[in-house]
């Protein structure tokens, strides 16, 4: 996103601090990005010719209004379950039955369904339906959230699991499914005696503790399948093996893919629903989950290898960012002896799954998937924004209050609306304080 400033603003601008200006640009960028418009900062040339019209405050409010608008556009699907007629409408549509095929364009007349008639829905759908998906425009369209009905296929493309070329998608899927079951055979059938008991044991302890608050995860069939996926992944990646928390990551894919297949909202799926899925279809879902998990962890693999260097690095960065943006909070933590590792370890290990409700985390991941390095980089700024949100509260707390607060943070009650704001703040921080910029600043 680029903005052209008239050169004669230069003198005036130099009075402002460098950071403040960058912040303004970033806020504009957020606004532009979210509203899908291209906004040029207006420079009033006639009266006070050098003064920027926008104070950062105005920009802030504007960017939030823009957010609200875009939020309302997708709200009905992603926030609340659609009413039953909508569900019926949708299930009659072939669209959700098979995500492998192109998403058929929806007849304009059919439905008053607010989500499918929203511009974002159509936009994303059009992109996916095109013979060759333009990844960049798909990312752009998805940054502000993917409608619930399109999430399964969109994520699979954004994850790099399904190819952009629509014609190749079906073949790819068939091949990948075959690959996966080849792996399963190798791990479980050929080497039955040499199962890694430590890994298997850990997984079997964690499976019943995975998302126990979502009814579908009570299904034995689903649990077995999840265990297979995790074990198979762990065996194929000996550098990390299975690490607690990976079950959480995998369960997100199950939630989306199963929900998409059944065309039932995640929280309404019962274990019986799962039992009724045909064998081959269920295996297909399992294979999809495996490959998406593989691709996801592939992006952040060093977060799970010995001593978890990826996480350690992220925590150091988080610390640096907080020190830079809110020194008071940083000092307060230091005074109280609150180590960043203490609360943020889980944020990086489970990618905030434990900090938000499922619907909300899906929305956050929509954005991560639409960013270049969403899980390995943008996530850091989301964590920063999240912590700074509570700065005022935390400043009044002592050690144990802080730790207890962050252990069960109020973000669990957040709706998508609050998360939209959080993500826009994260975007702002990312634009201003990209780590390299921070380092350069420090060296000066």
């Amino acid at each position: 996103m680029e903005f052209s400033y008239a050169t004669d603003t230069q003198a005036q601008l130099s009075n402002q601090s460098f950071w403040k200006r960058k912040r303004e640009w970033a806020l504009l960028a957020v606004e532009t990005r979210l509203s899908g418009l291209s906004i040029q900062p207006k420079v009033s040339s006639s009266k006070s010719k050098n003064r920027l019209l926008f104070s950062s405050n105005i920009i802030k409010t504007q960017s939030f209004t823009a957010l609200d608008k875009s939020y309302q556009g997708i709200a009905p699907t992603s926030l609340a379950p659609p009413n039953t007629t909508d569900i019926k409408n949708l299930s009659s549509s072939p669209l959700l039955k098979n995500s492998i095929e192109n998403v058929p364009s929806r007849p304009q007349s059919t439905s008053p369904n607010p989500s499918t008639s929203c511009p974002r829905f159509n936009k994303i759908q059009n992109i996916i339906n095109s013979p060759s998906v333009d990844l960049e425009s798909l990312q752009k369209a998805c940054w502000g959230g993917v409608p619930y009905e399109l999430r399964s296929v969109t994520w699979q493309i954004l994850m790099g699991y399904l190819p952009c070329n629509a014609n190749r998608r079906n073949d790819t899927k068939i091949r990948k499914h075959k690959d996966y079951f080849g792996n399963i055979e190798k791990t479980f059938i050929d080497k039955q005696d040499s199962l890694d008991s430590a890994i298997w044991h850990q997984i079997s302890i964690d499976i019943p503790r995975t998302y126990a608050d979502i009814p579908m995860f009570k299904s034995e069939r689903l649990r077995d399948s999840l265990a297979r996926v995790l074990y198979c992944w762990a065996i194929r990646h000996p550098a990390s093996g299975y690490v607690q928390g990976m079950n959480d990551l995998a369960s997100i894919f199950y939630a989306i893919f199963v929900s998409n297949y059944l065309d039932i909202q995640i929280f309404d799926i019962t274990p019986e629903n799962i039992e009724n899925i045909s064998k081959s279809d269920f295996e297909g879902v399992e294979a999809d989950c495996f490959w998406c998990l593989t691709n996801l962890i592939g992006k952040i693999h060093d977060s799970y290898t010995f001593t978890q260097p990826g996480i350690q690095r992220q925590i150091i960065k988080l610390k640096d960012l907080v020190q830079h943006i809110n020194p008071a909070l940083y000092k307060h933590f230091e005074k109280e002896g609150v180590q960043f590792l203490l609360f943020s370890f889980r944020w990086f290990n489970c990618l905030l799954i434990r900090e938000f409700t499922t619907n909300v985390i899906l929305r956050i991941w929509d954005t991560y998937l639409s960013e270049e390095d969403g899980f390995s980089n943008f996530h850091l700024y989301t964590c920063t924004a999240l912590l700074l949100k509570w700065a005022d509260t935390l400043l009044k707390m002592d050690f144990s209050e802080i730790v207890l607060f962050l252990q069960s943070p109020p973000s669990l009650q957040w709706s998508e609306k609050e998360v939209e704001i959080l993500l826009s703040e994260a975007y702002t921080y990312k634009s201003i304080y990209s780590y390299s910029a921070l380092l350069q600043q420090r060296q000066k």
Binding site: I205, G245, Q308, L341, F345, R354, S400
Partner: protein, 302 residues
């Protein structure tokens, strides 16, 4: 161990101006010895910012402080060596408090019920489907010991090997550890030795350890006989108890017992050490680093 628990407050009075020096050792183990890095002079009229010289104290037996109460004692002798020797000290006192905060860790294999023991003890909650612990978690609860309230700070750790590097950092400050196994799973009992090694490597050598056989409600599934565990515990100098986070039997007792033991040990240590030479409070030499401007220092005070 006890040195971590005691915070010192130290004050010096000299002829004309009241000069105060403070040092709180807190629970930072790196600073257990009362070395005064700086003396700050409370008197605002004094120009002295830095104190040049050294100070020798001899202290009497330190009585056991009742928690949270500050006790002042007078050293039996003290000398201040300063340059120029203008100090003439009228009064010196040292006060300390025994911190009432005790840190514990819950360790043991994954799935033995550590998190549920903690939630049962601190919130009286049990959850069959509690999520796995990632890294470390924390809870506090006050407990009554010998009509004093002691605040227990308890760290719950993740059992998986991969997290060992992170969790072991929390052993360090702990005065007590609850080493939990599952009476229905023999492997979790077999691993107790590994956890003991882990503690020996990372924790304070005086840490009090209690072996806890959890899930005692699963009688029909018992895999570890009580007597075996009891014998193992006594051979290794551990306390032992069987609990059930589910029906809450013995949970309170487990925490209470280990807290009581620690409290006793800490209190005894406080008496013992005050009679020894090496420990703070008895003839310890307190060295104050040189001030960079000694003329000012000597002119200002007295």
């Amino acid at each position: 161990m006890q040195t971590k628990q005691i915070g010192y407050h130290f004050s010096l009075k000299c002829k004309q101006n009241a000069c105060k020096a403070r040092q709180h050792t807190g629970n930072n183990s790196a600073r257990v010895k009362p070395q005064f890095n700086s003396l700050s002079f409370a008197d605002s009229t004094a120009h002295v910012k830095k104190f040049l010289g050294s100070l020798h104290l001899t202290l009497p037996s330190v009585p056991i402080a009742s928690p949270e109460k500050r006790i002042s004692i007078l050293p039996t002798s003290f000398h201040v060596y300063s340059f120029p020797p203008t100090f003439s000290i009228l009064h010196c006192s040292l006060s300390y408090t025994i911190s009432t905060l005790h840190t514990f860790v819950l360790i043991g294999d994954s799935g033995v019920g550590k998190s549920n023991l903690l939630s049962r003890f601190t919130r009286n909650e049990f959850n069959l489907e509690s999520k796995s612990t990632i890294g470390v978690e924390f809870a506090t609860r006050g407990i009554q010991v010998d009509d004093k309230t002691i605040k227990a700070q308890i760290w719950d750790t993740a059992g998986q090997e991969r997290y060992r590097a992170i969790t072991s950092a929390y052993y360090r400050g702990a005065v007590g550890a609850l080493l939990v196994y599952d009476i229905a799973k023999h492997t979790t009992y077999d691993n107790v030795n590994r956890w003991l090694t882990e503690l020996r490597d990372h924790a304070d050598k005086n840490i009090v350890i209690m072996l806890v056989g959890n899930k005692s409600d699963l009688r029909h599934l018992r895999a570890v006989p009580t007597d075996d565990a009891k014998q193992f515990a006594s051979e290794n100098g551990l306390f032992f108890i069987e609990t059930s986070a589910l029906d809450s039997s013995n949970v309170e007792q487990a925490f209470r017992q280990i807290l009581t033991e620690i409290y006793r040990i800490v209190s005894n240590k406080a008496i013992d050490s005050s009679n020894e030479n090496a420990q703070p409070g008895s003839g310890a030499q307190i060295i104050v680093p040189k001030a960079d401007d000694n003329t000012k220092a000597s002119n200002g005070c007295c």
